[in-house]
Amino acid sequence: MSEMEEIVGSPFLNKLSGPESRFEPLNSGNLRSDGRRPLELRSFEAELTTHPSADGSASVSHGLTQVTACVYGPREAKNRGLTMHDRALVNVEVSVAPWAGEMRRLRSRGDKRTLEFAASIKSTFEPVIQTTLYARSEIDIHIHVLQLDGGLLQASINATTLALVDAGVPMLDYVSSLSAGLYHTTAMLDLTSVEESDLPSVTVAVLPRSGKVTLVSMETRLHVDRFEEMFKLAMEGGKVLRGEMDRVVRERTAALARQMEGGVALKEDDKMDTDL
């Protein structure tokens, strides 16, 4: 008896009986832990020009994951030594809010994971942005992760795309990104953090117009034969997401055009009125 109680009080048990062991990614009704069907995405919301002080900014949320991206530039480079004579330099800085995940975590800017993450976003956008138009200048992208529930990379890429669009930086195409996972033989899209920690998952970023893939990132073990299905599904999903992103951009542009015609309603005032 007393031994039982010892264990009840010990922190180990919480681990053993924690959500990991009981977690069922797909129930008998073919529904996921949050009630979605396998190929259903979480609610996608995007807003442009969230930070008027930046040249372009966007906030994107996939379910509970929320990421804000701010774009500065093209502008004169801070560090002249790094400028390139034939194209613009792209800098990416990522900061994850300490409260973003389940546990509070202070991450320093020099953290290797964050650096790697920033590097992969940088190299995703470098070939897509028409950097040759802005020789000897730099484009800074700051990404803030405010909420984290899986799909960090996809949300960051989507937010960056929209922020770049908002800043009016010429790009070859949208870059839209989506994660996919596999449970037994069922592929599912847009994973939450619980699903991410339990299932093999891949994040894919596509250029929807050409249907080509620019980023593939998988960090979990999966048999080669299973990979292809999941990978191609994520690509298809990315193309669908592009439609949503395009809609947001068009709506925003239409609203701006209306305001310019009206000539009076400034953006801030407009927003204030609706909020009150």
Partner: protein, 314 residues
């Protein structure tokens, strides 16, 4: 700070201020529109986003269960402020982290006495909720301090402390383990149960989360949480809510922490200039009045509505 004002710009702004004329047409004691939105981070126990003009700060409060130290000390809060490089594009990495560290120190100095309330005790002298207050300065166009503390205040207002009850296990021979509990609405009751159990043999003391319709209890004294009012002193005038050029014109800046009930619970002086006491007196009186007003207005706004709350004050 690397941000510098040209002489002409500085004297233009300063002489305008001395004539009670500001660049954006406000009077000296006017705020820009203040917007406060609570509950912006669902994974935190309390969170808020505050904007004053274009300055924007997001704050989240998280509670973690911590064991108390030997000396019975507890209820300490942990604070961190991070300034985003997008808020201060002119600063390099090092000065940015210096600035973040300065703000963090300021925040924890003024917050520690406020947050160490008995409501955060789970089991007296054993376990407590450690509040971690994390702020992110997303953009700045002057008056970061007021915005930061407004966001912190709103996040603490939004904070819900999970309801707990003490659990006592009875050690061998006693048969089934006894789970004692009472709704932990107030910590006094909780303590009472445990004191009662102290006479008995017991093995481990733990706690249970109580399921309820809401996420927990709000802080009791939340309506009397202080607000920060920054007075920018440019002798003989002083002005509120300075923009960046206006901040650079003020030789002295006073941060006043004022409770809506009218008491002053902290003063912090920024700037190297010296300050004659006579000037301080007038500034203090006016500051306290303004702080009371601001705090009252925030309370009215935040209390009036549930969920998302926004409110411009003047």
């Amino acid at each position: 700070m690397a941000y510098q004002l040209s002489k002409a710009e500085s004297s233009y702004t300063a002489s305008g201020l001395l004539l009670s004329q500001r660049l954006d047409g406000r009077s000296l004691l006017d705020y820009r529109p203040i917007t406060v939105e609570a509950g912006v981070a669902p994974t935190a126990n309390g969170s808020a986003r505050a904007r004053i003009g274009d300055t924007e700060v997001v704050v989240a409060v998280k509670l973690d269960v911590k064991k108390m130290g030997e000396d019975g000390e507890g209820g300490r809060c942990v604070c961190s402020v991070e300034c985003s490089p997008s808020a201060y594009p002119q600063l390099d990495r090092d000065s940015l982290s210096d600035l973040s560290a300065d703000l963090s120190t300021l925040l924890s100095t003024y917050l520690t006495p406020i947050v160490s309330t008995p409501e955060l005790l789970i089991i007296p002298s054993q376990l407590y909720w450690q509040a971690s207050v994390d702020a992110l300065v997303l953009s700045s166009s002057g008056n970061v301090h007021d915005t930061l503390f407004a966001a912190v205040r709103a996040a603490l207002w939004d904070l819900r402390v999970p309801r707990t009850r003490g659990v006592v296990y009875e050690v061998p021979g006693g048969g089934d383990d006894v789970a004692m509990g009472e709704d932990g609405g107030s910590s006094v009751e909780k303590a009472g149960v445990l004191d009662h159990m102290r006479g008995m043999k017991r093995g481990a003391v733990d706690f249970d989360l109580v399921d309820g319709a809401d996420d927990g209890t709000p802080l009791e004294g939340r309506s009397d949480l202080p607000v920060c009012v920054t007075l920018n002193l440019l002798s003989p005038v002083f002005y509120l809510d300075a923009t960046i050029p206006e901040e650079l014109c003020a030789p002295t800046r006073l941060l006043l922490f004022i409770r809506p009930s009218g008491t002053l619970c902290g003063i912090h002086k920024l700037g190297e200039a010296e300050l004659p006491p006579a000037e301080l007196k007038e500034a203090l009186q006016e500051g306290v009045r303004l702080g009371k007003e601001l705090g009252g207005a925030m309370n009215a706004r935040m209390g009036g509505m549930g969920g998302k709350r926004m409110g411009p004050f003047s």
